[in-house]
């Protein structure tokens, strides 16, 4: 039996003798392997981004929305009639043992002015609980206190983006800004938080005491009204008990009978993000389908070209048999030729996939992650394709009768 190395040499000679044809043959594998690489890069990049975002929002989060739950699942219930109040939020915090932090939310977009600079941003009325719940630290200054909330003082905390747009390099702490013409004293600046799962800049935000928002900024349908209550449970295991406790408490507070529909909805934020993750998975699957189809097509291309090659080289096979090549020598030669074609295609596909993945992340900002494992996986896929589709032509070559092979014109 001849060795693997001489077989590779014979294979590379044969491939070089037909450069153009070899490259065209490899194209299917190149595209297939490239797609595998891109798929895995995009998939794991998306997963990592989601994980980062879940961490940035805060873990074990529940969200209480006004209005009955909709079948869509993703509806935030915005626009339903307001039913939640600040007292509801306080009650949840005091009476639900599984709950860790509670943050009422009353927000709206508002025009903000400092000096001659103005900026339109999301202003959120909330309590100190918001920052505990989201594990959001201060860059400078202080948080507002329970006293600020009780007294509805006109103080505010700014996100990084707002500071950059209104103040530039000036230290904003102690300065007075106008939110919808109402003067607010800046008492602190929040640390940078980055993008939210829906792609919003979380640093483009101003936080004020919820009571101040109710009285001075956003007219409310009834006193004490808030839009949303954010709740964090004491741990992952407490999410379900917390959900139950909140539902029970609010039912009681809103006087909802056992047969009546709830006028609020408790949602688990991790579930919402899970839906986004599912979307990323579907995209991965789609790319995976493309990858496997083009690997199969590429493999058939290799098989086709190998069959042509076997026919073209019938006489060569006869010569080799006449000088002592065994059936397995011939088989190995063509198998290795197919393998070389597919592995070369695999390498080019990996390079192409890495290039495209990098381009995707620079152009769209969509993160991609290329793991050594995915490269190995793609490489082995191309190898398996080569062996699988190369076997039949190689087998056919080895069955040739040396005499008729030698006589072949």
């Amino acid at each position: 039996m001849i060795g693997i190395i001489p077989s590779f040499k014979i294979a590379s000679d044969a491939i070089r003798a037909n450069k153009m044809r070899s490259i065209l043959t490899m194209l299917g594998i190149i595209i297939g392997v490239g797609a595998v690489i891109i798929m895995l890069a995009v998939g794991s990049g998306a997963r990592k981004m989601l994980e980062d975002q879940i961490a940035s929002i805060g873990s074990n989060l529940l969200i209480v929305l006004p209005g009955a739950s909709t079948s869509g699942g993703m509806s935030h219930g915005m626009g339903s009639q307001p039913t939640l109040t600040l007292l509801d939020a306080e009650a949840v915090e005091k009476q639900c043992p599984a709950v860790l932090y509670v943050a009422p939310v009353l927000s709206g977009v508002a025009q903000v002015v400092y000096g001659n600079q103005n900026w339109s941003t999301m202003v959120t009325g909330t309590t100190r609980g918001m920052f505990d719940l989201r594990d959001w630290s201060l860059a400078s200054g202080r948080y507002f206190t329970g006293q600020d909330v009780r007294g509805a003082t006109k103080v505010c905390l700014l996100g990084k983006t707002v500071v950059e747009n209104l103040f530039g390099s000036i230290d904003p702490v102690g300065q007075v800004i106008r939110i919808q013409k109402v003067p607010f004293t800046v008492i602190g600046v929040l640390d940078e938080k980055g993008q939210s799962p829906s792609g919003q800049d979380q640093d483009d935000a101003i936080y004020v005491p919820v009571t101040t928002a109710q009285k001075k900024l956003f007219g409310t349908a009834f006193p004490g009204m808030i839009k949303v209550i954010l709740v964090s449970a004491k741990g992952a295991d407490y999410l379900e008990p917390a959900e139950k406790q909140i539902t029970e408490l609010l039912k009681q507070r809103h006087h909802i009978g056992p047969k009546q529909e709830n006028d609020f909805t408790v949602k688990n934020l991790t579930q919402i993000l899970g839906a986004a993750e599912k979307a990323a998975q579907i995209m991965s699957l789609l790319l995976g389908a493309i990858a496997s189809v083009s690997l199969i097509v590429g493999g058939i291309g290799i098989m086709n070209i190998m069959l042509v090659s076997v026919t073209e080289r019938t006489r060569e096979i006869g010569i080799r048999m006449a000088v002592g090549a065994r059936a397995w020598d011939i088989r190995l030669q063509f198998l290795i030729e197919a393998l070389t074609l597919s592995l070369l295609g695999g390498i080019m596909g990996i390079l192409m996939g890495v290039g495209v993945a990098k381009t995707i992340s620079t152009l769209s900002g969509w993160p991609t992650l290329i793991s050594p494992l995915s490269v190995l996986l793609a490489f082995s896929f191309s190898g398996v394709t080569g062996i699988f589709f190369g076997f039949y032509p190689a087998y056919k070559a080895s069955l040739l009768n040396p005499i008729s092979a030698l006589r072949y014109e």
């Binding site: 001849i2 006869g318 010569i319 048999m321 002592g324 065994r326 020598d329 030698l406």
Partner: protein, 230 residues
């Protein structure tokens, strides 16, 4: 013991309903160091006989002992090994691998004998020297004349020190002068290395280089005689 001993060799080709008896009851022995010319009209079974002797094909019936081994009982791998170790083939059309350097062409049998690259090259160069082609080791077949290509093919047949060279019309594609050069090479190899040479030819002047002439007609041996050298 004879090097080659065939008894009652028959070969029947079936194509559809038609049966062609390419060989009929051929029996003969050939000793080591013989120099034989096989002659006969076209279609008389010369190539079929050579293929049987060369273990490229199996007879329909009859026995073939090569070096005392019954070839009929061997499997494909064992036949390949015999072709590799004991037989060297030379064809009318040279049959060198295109796009492959001469030194690699000549070393091909050693490749299938599992010899390492360095030794292979060394032996190929030695064989090329024996046929006077040392300076063409790095050339490709299409850069050589017919006579040079045939000499390279002879080098390939020699490289494994095979005791038998089988040549089916080796001079069929060559002019007279080149043919004589090739024949002289065979004579020298036969004399110096004691290689058994069996060659097929139509030309009496080529056959005249041999010491024994076997004539075929319609699949039978009709004549088998030693040639008296003057």
């Amino acid at each position: 013991m004879a090097l080659i001993e065939v008894k009652g060799l028959n070969k029947v080709y079936k194509s559809g309903d038609v049966e062609v008896h390419a060989l009929r009851d051929v029996s003969l022995t050939i000793d080591l160091g013989a120099f034989i010319a096989v002659m006969g009209p076209s279609g008389s079974g010369k190539s079929t006989f050579m293929n049987m002797i060369g273990c490229l094909d199996q007879p329909t019936s009859g026995s073939y002992l090569l070096d005392g081994v019954d070839v009929g009982g061997l499997d494909g791998n064992e036949l390949a090994e015999i072709r590799n170790k004991k037989l060297g083939f030379i064809f009318q059309g040279f049959n060198l691998l295109p796009r492959t350097k001469l030194v690699e062409n000549v070393g091909l049998p050693m490749l299938y004998a599992g010899v390492g690259a360095q030794k292979r090259r060394q032996m190929a160069l030695k064989a090329l020297e024996a046929v006077g082609l040392s300076d063409k080791a790095g050339s490709y077949p299409n850069q050589l004349s017919g006579g040079q290509q045939q000499r390279a093919a002879i080098a390939r047949a020699l490289v494994n020190n095979a005791p038998i060279i089988l040549a089916d019309e080796p001079t069929g594609n060559l002019d007279t002068k080149t043919s004589y050069e090739i024949m002289k090479l065979f004579v020298r190899l036969n004399k110096d290395l004691n290689v058994t040479v069996i060659l097929v030819t139509h030309e009496p002047d080529i056959a005249a280089f041999a010491r024994r002439i076997i004539k075929f007609s319609d699949g039978r041996v009709t004549d088998d005689e030693e040639v008296k050298k003057t």
